[in-house]
Symmetry: C2
Subunit: 255 residues, 2 copies
């Protein structure tokens, strides 16, 4: 059975996250994985043993993706371009397959990841443009962006990010390496655009980091409070989780 890797974009606002959710064995919510499963099985003429699409990263309700990655096995050979076009015809219009390539049987979308990049958009307008509501987080209080720029390097490197993991985090270790943490200030759009790159991230880590950075920018925390938060390893100390609407899974790197 040939294996395919696909790069997928989606507007997360009408999905209950990426992962299929079942209740008494029945899918009860609209999810990205659920829609991908349906389309892939339809393209494969609904085999008796349903094909399962495996995703690299679970994104929460309302979280978006420019470059989610999935893999799946088809029961027969279809040209990569045919797979992309076929799926895009079958999928709802808030999911788009950007790219498809054939990969070896060893490829696994989740286990072979090398690094991930996320983007977080924050609207700093007094009242957010209604068209940005589902596509940005929102922070209407005073922000000194220089303070944020001074704080960001404190995230770089290998650290125990226990203070930045939401209670649902189930990984064995909370040690992660961040290789990039920066912010672009778009004055004209009244927007901050954060970019984070690292080997992997804990549950809600990006949203908690953005929450802390915004509180630093607002003056409610010391500029170097991240150093202290990393040291204390206490989730209670990093209070504010920025909303899902501003988060984009941007790119996943493989070995």
């Amino acid at each position: 059975m040939p294996r395919y890797k696909a790069t997928v974009s989606y507007d997360g606002s009408d999905f209950f996250g990426f992962q299929v959710q079942t209740k008494h064995g029945v899918e009860c919510q609209r999810t990205v994985q659920g829609e991908l499963n349906k389309a892939v099985n339809q393209m494969a003429k609904n085999p008796i043993e349903p094909i399962k699409v495996v995703g690299a990263s679970r994104t929460d309700t309302g979280v978006h993706a420019f470059g989610q990655v999935v893999h799946f096995d088809l029961p027969f050979n279809i040209h990569e371009i045919g797979v992309r076009k076929g799926l895009n015809t079958l999928l709802p219009r808030d999911i788009l397959i950007q790219h498809v390539e054939k990969v070896s049987d060893n490829f696994h979308a989740r286990f072979n990841t090398h690094a991930k990049r996320y983007i977080y958009r924050v609207s700093t307008q007094d009242y957010t443009d209604p068209f940005k509501r589902k596509y940005t987080g929102h922070f209407q209080w005073q922000l000194d962006t220089k303070r944020i720029q001074l704080a960001l390097p404190d995230l770089i490197g290998e650290h125990d990010f226990a203070s930045f993991a939401a209670s649902g985090n189930q990984t064995a270790t909370t040690i992660r390496t961040i290789t990039r943490a920066d912010v672009e200030i778009k004055e004209s759009d009244q927007e901050l655009v954060f970019t984070f790159e690292g080997n992997a991230f804990l549950y809600n880590q990006i949203r908690i980091m953005v929450g802390v950075l915004l509180e630093i920018g607002n003056g409610r925390r010391d500029i170097h409070d991240i150093v202290r938060l990393i040291a204390v390893k206490d989730r209670e100390q990093a209070r504010f989780t920025a909303p899902a609407s501003g988060l984009y899974l941007d790119e996943i790197y493989y070995d």
Copy 2:
């Protein structure tokens, strides 16, 4: 009772249109007017006789607005800035009050309109960017934009637009005057942005005009088919109504 005029933007994608819909006297759907009524009455401390917000233009389900206009009477004086801030605090984040001004008792948002401007965005990508799904119409077939540019002037002037009125149209006359009809081609975004200005428009008129223009661009109609359509006064001849998602009520002019 002081009267206020307010300019309102909204992302129409989560609304069943502008106008309140009732079933056995109960509001059964989320509408822009319904949300405005709630916020205005809450700000006015829920008077016994509920305040009714009057809108300039009914927009359909999924249609957006940059500059819808409404009026309402408050039982006591509040400064214009206080009305705007108060309503923006009370309203859901997909509606934004842009501007509030006190007006005379003679002002009526619907009856005093002088002209209206609408925008229609069409995505011409093969498969639309998933983030544009709710914010553009979509036309993936071949388009010769020069043909559209040659056709647009045929709409200008006072004409009987009976061929361009959907069956729900209830106005006494189908004669309207269009003063502006143009298109901007945004190559990099793979988008066409139409702008239409006129004294008033029939039910679904913009969406039907865009449908005809796209068929002209595609070569399925003669370049000057609009002249014929105006002459025949037959809705059956203008088949395709462009989707609601691309339409924006942009601005309303008053005397």
